[in-house]
């Protein structure tokens, strides 16, 4: 399971960011990314010829909206041991993996394991960090500017909304996905397992459903297609589930799309649910 292997990478506490490394003049030329989220960062900041390989997921159009940029690039299994043969001069990954960190130290491979971002600002900072690592500071600045610009499109009052993933699990109210959604004008009203009965009895103005691998059926993914939800009065908005997998480099485009597509909709909702909205504003 590539996803699980990746999810357990160790953050190498910026050992690779020491002064000695920064002094290296030449940009890395054989970069490897082991994780979908660092794949996205890399695809956004590095030049193609600098990239030795990205993870299998980063090139899969079912997993990331940025897969188009990965066309023709080599892919890897997401395991450090499998890419050593490519003699990378920079390996990027996300999350904690003590064994990989030890292996990288032993082999003298430069491994940068980014922590999981907690906010859009974290994501912007990480993209800038990767951009600096690959020697394209401008690309990082452009991305950070893009994230900052999203602030201008935020609707004045947030709309109560519920984003639900597979199996009726709602992402955390103070988490990364919810923070991105706030930029689109939505306030995640609940987290954890959502009881369908409770949802129907007390519907949110907006139900956000992630579209991910639509051709593939599984019990958890079938949740949003439950026939009882057909009578839910909530406005159902489909979001790109792939972008939310990382909540990373692919998010600004998705949030911009939501901002442009739904401002009128949101205003209408605010007229329809004035009590809800004012209660929310008071709570803030």
């Amino acid at each position: 399971m590539v996803g699980f292997a990746q999810a357990a990478r160790w953050m190498l506490a910026c050992a690779s960011m020491t002064a000695g490394d920064v002094a290296v003049a030449a940009n890395p030329a054989r970069i490897v990314s082991l994780n979908l989220c660092t794949d996205e960062y890399l695809l956004l900041t590095a030049q193609r010829r600098q990239i030795s390989s990205i993870s299998r997921l980063g090139a899969d159009p079912q997993e990331t909206p940025l897969a188009g940029r990965a066309r023709g690039l080599a892919t890897n299994s997401g395991r450090l041991g499998d890419v050593i043969g490519q003699s990378p001069d920079l390996v990027l990954t996300m999350g904690e993996a003590p064994q990989d960190a030890a292996l990288a130290r032993r082999l003298g491979v430069r491994l940068v394991a980014l922590p999981y971002p907690q906010s859009p600002a974290d994501v912007a900072a990480q993209v800038r960090q990767v951009a600096a690592l690959v020697g394209h500071v401008a690309a990082g600045d452009a991305f950070a500017a893009e994230v900052a610009a999203l602030q201008h499109g935020v609707p004045a009052a947030p709309t109560d909304a519920l984003m639900v993933g597979g199996g009726g699990l709602a992402p955390a109210m103070d988490g990364l996905a919810a923070a991105w959604l706030r930029l689109a004008g939505f306030r995640q009203r609940q987290s954890g397992p959502v009881a369908m009965e409770a949802l129907l009895a007390d519907p949110p103005p907006v139900l956000l459903v992630g579209r991910y691998r639509p051709g593939q059926v599984s019990q958890p993914q079938a949740w949003a297609q439950h026939p009882a939800l057909a009578r839910l009065p909530s406005r159902r908005i489909t979001v790109d589930g792939r972008a939310f997998l990382c909540g990373g480099a692919a998010m600004p485009a998705e949030i911009r799309r939501l901002q442009q597509q739904f401002p009128a909709e949101i205003r209408r909702l605010q007229q329809k649910f004035p009590a809800e909205i004012s209660r929310l504003q008071a709570a803030r």
Partner: protein, 310 residues
């Protein structure tokens, strides 16, 4: 006893319909349409599936124990449950099948597991050999599920499957009930019809044959019936263990230890037990999966049963 069990099932089903995260009476006062929809589209499938799947597992457990003349036999030990899970996984992940496809995959998987079991054990195999072959088949199919996961296109397949395999009846649909229940009932009807033959089989294969029972055709009928009674249920609710193993042991002493006569009571007791367990998972404050609860309750009970008989 059958009447008492049937009444118990009915009472538990009513309790199952009555409990939930929202107060249906209050909602009915506000929005009768919504209350009706909650009752018919969410609570009814849940209660109905608990009854049907529990009955299928209990009846199939009693029938496999009767057919193999072994108290250890049950759908989850011998492989049909694992086969059904594999079939549903293959149908869902690789063929993109919907509800009907997954149920069909479940039944085909259960059937394939049982046929593999018979092929491995050979014709006229003793019951010990059949059980051993069953354990091997169940293990093999379990590994095949892992293999299928390794090849699954989505990185979340493992998580999805783990959740599903733990078994749950939450938020199932009316079409799932309407699809699974008739298949399970058809399987149970076949099993009940075979009950007298199974009672005769308890006296030994030769005695049964001398009583005019064609054991080969009996084998076939039971296998198809067990596949029907378990396959669709696993595809809808995931794997729910221990009911098929434990329930026959509870009811058999009460029917004079006749294995065939135990099938119908075992089905009713299975229905009651699974409904009760599904009520318990909703009342318990922790987020426990149905299959986890049945195993948590079933395993100690089974141990107690073994120790008592020592």
């Amino acid at each position: 006893m059958k009447l008492a069990l049937a009444l118990l099932c009915l009472a538990l089903a009513l309790v199952s319909l009555a409990i939930g995260p929202v107060d249906l009476v209050a909602i009915h006062a506000r929005d009768p349409d919504l209350a009706r929809s909650l009752l018919l589209e969410l609570r009814l499938p849940r209660a109905g599936l608990a009854l049907a799947i529990g009955a299928g597992l209990g009846g199939a457990g009693a029938a496999t124990q009767a057919l193999l003349r072994n108290p250890l036999a049950s759908p989850d030990v011998l492989g049909p449950s694992t086969g059904a899970a594999l079939g549903a996984v293959l149908a869902g992940y690789f063929l993109g099948a919907g509800v009907i496809g997954m149920a069909a995959g479940g039944i085909i998987g259960a059937l394939a597991a049982l046929l593999l079991l018979l092929a491995l054990a050979g014709a006229g195999a003793g019951s010990t050999r059949l059980v051993l072959a069953g354990v091997a088949v169940a293990t093999l199919l379990g590994v095949a599920i892992n293999l299928a996961l390794g090849l699954a296109p989505s990185p979340f397949a493992l998580y999805d499957l783990m959740t599903w395999l733990m078994g749950s009846l939450a938020d199932r649909t009316l079409p799932q009930l309407l699809l699974a229940a008739p298949l399970i009932l058809a399987g149970l009807a076949l099993l009940v019809r075979a009950a007298p033959a199974l009672d005769a089989l308890a006296l030994g294969e030769e005695v049964a044959q001398s009583l005019g029972i064609a054991t080969a055709s009996l084998n076939r009928r039971i296998i198809i019936a067990v596949a029907l009674a378990t396959g669709a249920g696993v595809a809808v609710a995931g794997s729910i263990g221990f009911i098929g193993l434990v329930v026959p042991h509870i009811v058999r002493p009460r029917v004079g230890h006749r294995p065939g006569a135990a099938i119908l009571p075992a089905a009713l007791a299975g229905a009651a037990l699974l409904t009760a367990a599904d009520i318990a998972v909703r009342l318990l404050p922790l987020d426990l999966k149905l299959g986890v609860l049945t195993a948590l309750l079933g395993a100690p009970f089974f141990l107690w049963l073994i120790l008592k008989g020592r």
